[in-house]
């Protein structure tokens, strides 16, 4: 339960209310912070508390780690006020990662909503780096508005430089937006999924995930071809505090990434 200390190397704002922390350690070799895409850390703001935050950097980059954080409450607010050189606590990494090994050789369709792109970014880096080992690679991403879109510059670069098909959509457009308006599920036709060959990873608000999965299933994907990352209240991340229970699972240990077939029976039960 005792956090280690890391230093803020950089803090920058992705959107109006999402910022990214770049963290480095002087006391420990950075290898101790090695993670697999999809895992998360518990970040501790001194005197304020902890929040579970996914790691959003490239797992191959060995000198620092990144977290993209949505400013929503006390802890995330405190983290947002950090300056270069400040020290925070960190525990982790925790949780199950995206099954990047298992899905090698398949077409990949990522569906992300809002801040949900952050936990998926390490997977994107990984797949792009090992591009040949995967089939067709599609990213469908929806945000509330153009200004809420995460990593817009990077998205553009990926699309330009790499073999990845990216489609974006926003709930509400502004005058600058030339793209599509609507919800992320509307993008699925662009993916031209080959159901047999496709594996999908989904992350975003629970309601977005529900409709995305419905859509994927309609396009012929089996439940076990879909992976999703869940959020629950989390206090310890060690499987002791009980808060993150999701039916028979603890999200901190057996999740946050689940194969959908494992949770399909309970996914639609309200207030589980």
């Amino acid at each position: 339960m005792i956090p280690r200390q890391v230093r803020v190397k950089k803090i920058f704002w992705e959107t109006e209310d999402v910022f990214t922390l770049e963290l480095v350690s002087e006391d420990y070799p950075m290898s101790e912070f090695y993670f697999r895409p999809g895992q998360f850390n518990m970040l501790y703001a001194f005197g304020v508390g902890e929040a579970a935050i996914s790691i959003s950097s490239d797992s191959a980059k060995k000198n620092s780690i990144l977290h993209s954080i949505h400013k929503v409450g006390y802890v995330t607010n405190a983290l947002s006020k950090l300056k270069k050189g400040d020290v925070i606590g960190i525990r982790g990494p925790f949780g199950k990662a995206w099954p990047l090994e298992e899905i090698k050789g398949y077409d990949i369709c990522i569906m992300a909503g809002g801040i949900g792109l952050a936990p998926l970014r390490p997977s994107i880096y990984y797949i792009l780096k090992h591009r040949k080992q995967y089939g067709k690679f599609t990213l469908l991403y929806g945000a509330r508005s153009p200004r809420d879109m995460l990593y817009p510059v990077e998205l553009e670069q990926w699309a330009k430089k790499h073999d990845i098909h990216i489609e974006t959509i926003v709930d509400r457009a502004d005058s600058m937006w030339r793209g599509q308006v609507g919800v992320v599920t509307e993008l699925i036709d662009y993916a031209e999924l080959d159901p047999e060959r496709t594996r999908s990873m989904v992350c975003g608000p629970e309601i977005m995930m529900k409709y995305s999965i419905d859509e994927l299933k309609k396009n012929g994907l089996n439940e076990d071809q879909i992976y999703l990352s869940l959020e629950r209240n989390m206090k310890c991340a060690l499987g002791f505090c009980g808060h993150c229970q999701y039916g028979p699972s603890f999200v901190c240990k057996e999740g946050p990434v689940f194969n959908f077939s494992k949770v399909k029976d309970i996914f639609e039960i309200r207030e589980l």
């Binding site: 005792i2 005197g47 902890e50 310890c236 060690l238 002791f240 505090c241 229970q245 699972s249 207030e271």
Partner: protein, 368 residues
Amino acid sequence: MKTISKDSLDKIIGYLKYKGYKVIGPSVRDGAIIYDEISCIEDLPAGWGDEQEAGHYRLRKRNDGALFGYAAGPQSWKKFLFPGKLKLWEAEKNSKGFEITPANGQFPKYAFIGVRSCELHAVFIQDKVFNNGMFSDTYYNKIRKNIFIAAVNCAEAGKTCFCVSMKTGPKAEEGYDIALTEIINQDEHYFVVDEGTPKGSELMEQIESLTSTEEQLAAADDALKNAESNMGRTLETDGIKSLLYKNHANTVWDQIAKRCLSCANCTMVCPTCFCSNVEDVTDLSGDHTERWRTWDSCFNLDYSKVAGGNFRTSIKARYRQWMTHKLASWIDQFGISGCVGCGRCITWCPVGIDITKEVSNIRKSLKN
């Protein structure tokens, strides 16, 4: 098996104290049997029994002077292994950032006197919880490693007990250092003692004892049989997991929700419930901070809150989570039921909601 006189129990307590144990046992306080530090046999609830029903508890005077003639009370041993409030660490700001110091842990050496079979099982269950395969809880394990357990077999069952259904009693089968069976007849009051570990045997060597006679062993057996035959309640566990998993939409939950207060008493008294919260506190300057762990409950509304909303706002969903966890998902999580049939949640629910009855209500609802 050995037989010791009633007064030898005092010697046992004395010896344990001499060995540096903090001896914890039952005593009477505020109209109930509670667990607290004891110093001699006089502290035990001699001649006290109890009368329990759903939402009802009264002490009852017994006429036989039994020291362990009561059923499970409002407290359980979990309060020693998994304290309600525990400081985890504190931290101080410094020029480098801050420095964290683990709470300078005091890990008392406890001797528990009077642990019932169901309570032993509850400890086994929490052993699994706090050593979950990936992580183990420091405080729990440090304390747990050093406890001395003097179990007591039940000679009489409470009206809300159902350990037989849960296969957790009434006989203490393992995990104790010594197990006592209290026998009282017209002119004798003695204990039949079973040594469960070398630690237990070492203790017994210091205590005057005789080898138990056939008669004494038979009396001990009868006592257990008596307990087994007068269990206050039963819970049908066959297929319980799928029963609850499949019935998440059953109207029985709505019925319960009308009565359940979401007060969390059931989870507080349950010997296996393990949920906790953490609180960060700071001093005025903000330079010093502490992290505390406290008992939490799935009945508390905040428990399932996240920044975007709350996963379980209705009382119905919270009760369903609790009962489904106890009796079904616990099995998936830890390979064992989360209920040991002690009946505490039934007795200490202010409105007397009865887990055994609700399970049977769900079963009945399927027949109709």
